[in-house]
Amino acid sequence: MNFLNGITILLIYQLAGEVSALLLHIPVPGPVLGMIMLFLTLLLRGNSIASVDHTSSALLSHLSLLFVPAGVGMITHFDRIISEWMPITVALVLSTMITLMVTAAIMQWSNHLLAKEVKKDG
């Protein structure tokens, strides 16, 4: 019953997210809006929901499985990957490296800058 309650709540939030994305014309995937709504609900409640925790950890523990069907869809893009492998490879490798470096550098810098305040807050 726990699993059923959990998945029902997740689906209700997804549905609410999909409907609001359509109604409000927000260019954000419906499930992301559902995630925001659930996060806000949890913040307002002040504690977690046992059945949702249970179902979420089941879903998230094998999250990788869920992208497999879409990944196999690569079979329909072989031509594109072969003809554009060079820009794709360069963009992936350099952009991943740049993102790692910029994020780490900026976080270190902003931590330094705000170190005193953080210390005051405990």
Binding site: Q14, M35, F67, S95, L100
Partner: protein, 243 residues
């Protein structure tokens, strides 16, 4: 006789969703065991092995992707509720969020902007087609969200799925070397950058190094999914890739 029996069984199976679903789960469990056996080496990430096994199977049996997807869609469908479920790890990190909100917000916005603009910019510079650029744009975000974004902006969600996984593997492999070169020792900084660039695969790698690095990576992954979904259409219209 046996041959024709087999042939008719195959005709039945190849039109039923049962086969697509079963081989997806089988391929994944083989891939997952291999990954655990290899001490969670990111090069043997289960998505890559499972996709390779399944593509080989489809090519050998001359099965179309749409016939396969009839069955696999039951797994694919769970991406939606799994995305909603990301609210839970985010909520579990809310104490850290409250305490460090300003540096995290600054790092988040700059990380998302860098990730999106560098990917699209480099792809454009190297002459990639518009659809490939759009499919690359959400590459640093966790797969279900990246696919949703890709679909929304006119990219190819299934190409995005693969690009996201490759990005995660790259990040997991080069991350620790980049941090060593930059002489960064703070696990919270390393974790946040890892999650920002390499989502769940980077997070799995971060948890191997330390609990703190993993927690911050998970936090960055959840925050960047949110921020990228909100910022990406706007970022792309600024650089004129989307109108």
């Amino acid at each position: 006789m046996a041959d024709s029996d087999l042939a008719s069984i195959w005709v039945y199976l190849s039109t039923s969703p049962l086969l697509g679903l079963t081989i997806t789960l089988m391929a994944y469990s083989i891939a997952y065991r291999l990954y655990i056996y290899a001490n969670a080496n990111p090069l043997l990430h289960p998505v890559v092995t499972a996709v390779a096994l399944l593509i080989t199977f489809l090519l050998l049996t001359d099965t179309s992707y749409s016939a396969y997807f009839e069955g696999a869609q039951f797994v694919h469908f769970l991406l939606g509720p799994a995305t909603v479920a990301l609210a839970i790890p985010l909520y579990q990190q809310s104490a850290k969020l409250k305490k460090l909100w300003l540096p995290l917000l600054i790092s988040l916005i700059s990380g998302v902007t860098t990730g999106v603009l560098s990917a699209v910019g480099l792809a454009q510079l190297m002459g990639a087609s518009l659809q490939t650029q759009l499919s690359l744009a959400p590459k640093s975000v966790t797969t279900p969200v990246a696919m949703g974004i890709s679909e929304q902006i006119g990219g190819l969600p299934s190409l995005t799925a693969i690009l996201v996984v490759v990005t995660g593997i790259l990040g997991a492999i080069i991350g620790t070397r980049v941090f060593a070169l930059m002489r960064i020792t703070d696990d919270s900084v390393k974790g946040f950058a890892m999650g920002m660039a390499a989502h769940g695969i980077g997070t799995a790698r971060a948890f191997q190094i330390s609990e703190e690095m993993g927690a911050f990576s998970g936090l960055a992954m959840a925050l960047s999914a949110l921020a990228t979904a909100l910022m990406l259409p706007w970022l792309l219209s600024i650089i004129g890739v989307l109108s």
